[in-house]
């Protein structure tokens, strides 16, 4: 009985994840901007 409930729980989360809606927000590719602090640090170490 308890094993069967556990199996249903596992199946439920797998089905929920597989059937979950597609990404609801559009993906916008952000411009890659290096951190000014890290840039300065990299310059110094170079």
């Amino acid at each position: 009985m308890i094993e069967f409930i556990a199996l249903i729980c596992f199946a439920l989360v797998l089905v929920a994840m597989i059937a979950a809606p597609a990404q609801s927000r559009p993906v916008v590719r952000a411009e890659s901007k290096p951190s000014p602090v890290l840039t300065r640090s990299a310059t110094q170490s170079a």
Binding site: A6, C9, F10, L12, V13, P21, Q23, R25, V37
Partner: protein, 411 residues
Amino acid sequence: MQESFINAGDTAWVLVSAALVMIMTPALGFFYAGLVRRENVLTTIMHSLTVLAIVSVQWVLWGYSLAFSGDIGGVIGNLDYFAFNGVSNMEAGPAAGVPHSLWAVYQGLFAAITTALITGAFAERLKFKALILFTVLWSTFVYSPVCHWVWATGGWLFDFGALDFAGGTVVHISSGIAAVVAAVMVGHRVNFGKEEPKPHNLTYTVLGAAFLWFGWFGFNAGSAWAANEIAANAFVVTNVAAAMGVLSWVAAQWVREGKPSVLGGAAGAVAGLVGITPAAGFVNPAGAIIIGFGAGVLCYLGLGIIKNVLKVDDALDVFAVHGIGGIWGAIATGFLAVASVNGPTGLIDGNPGQVWTQIVAVAAVAAYSAVATFILLKLIDVTIGLRVTEPEESVGLDESVHGEFGYRMAD
């Protein structure tokens, strides 16, 4: 030559477990630190570090004694073990085969992380001095008595038959309830409700969650106080419940919000771990899967209610994860405990009365923690005050309180 009382295997396991539980408090610091603004990253880690330090000393001086020495009316111990007097390396304590002093320190590390959990509720706005005072008072007047009720011989919930293997009531409900009271009393952050708080570094949070999961093996399996079959069961169910917590939180969030977040995965792991804590020595792996599943879903849904409906700024979701997860785990233990693991039984094994016993334990601990935390915070508020000033909060506590910056890597 006199034969030693020590069981080497059991003692070695409790030594390792104590170290695993110790690492959980700094791990919690990292878990929380990733969730705050970057101007508060050091402050948040410092809160966990400070609580660990204060409670480690307080526990040796009087905390352990109040929890485990003697019994006064089933509600608190006495001061016979003050400063660990009588807590010997040379004889066993409650755990046969393990030095009393080691067992006492292992318990003290539970006290430390319990108090540290609450710091997530008032993150980014509490005075550091208020944290120090709160830590001493709360661990003394809330943790030690509740610990005595549930785990000490003569404690009234212990005698009542409440099942709490590793701290569902003692650790998670007490701290989760204290957290929501603290969040209300300290008040919300300046920008709460105006802008969505954005975690500044989720990699810290995942790192913290990973170390919490790792340390939790010492927390739960170590609570067998021996390297035995109950420890093995606790280890197995701890891992599978954490895993199920990840899956169920992520699944619930994905269905409701359209994205499976990394934060959801980390929080789900902790929710699953919280849920299995009271049950780890009483349920089998199938029971643990059910507990992990419920913990992930209930904590995720509870979080939304606390934030969006009740509008309580429990900054890092301590009540949602530890309060709700702890209550779920404690009551589920009353349903799912099976005799084949450790002896005690729950509803599915023919003992429906255990469910009521668990509900009484949950209600008693929650009520006491709420009232006592309210009184202690009120006391602090009228003496030294609870909150930093608004400008201090705006600039961030790393700079305004500690004079440091988490990310000044080069000048």
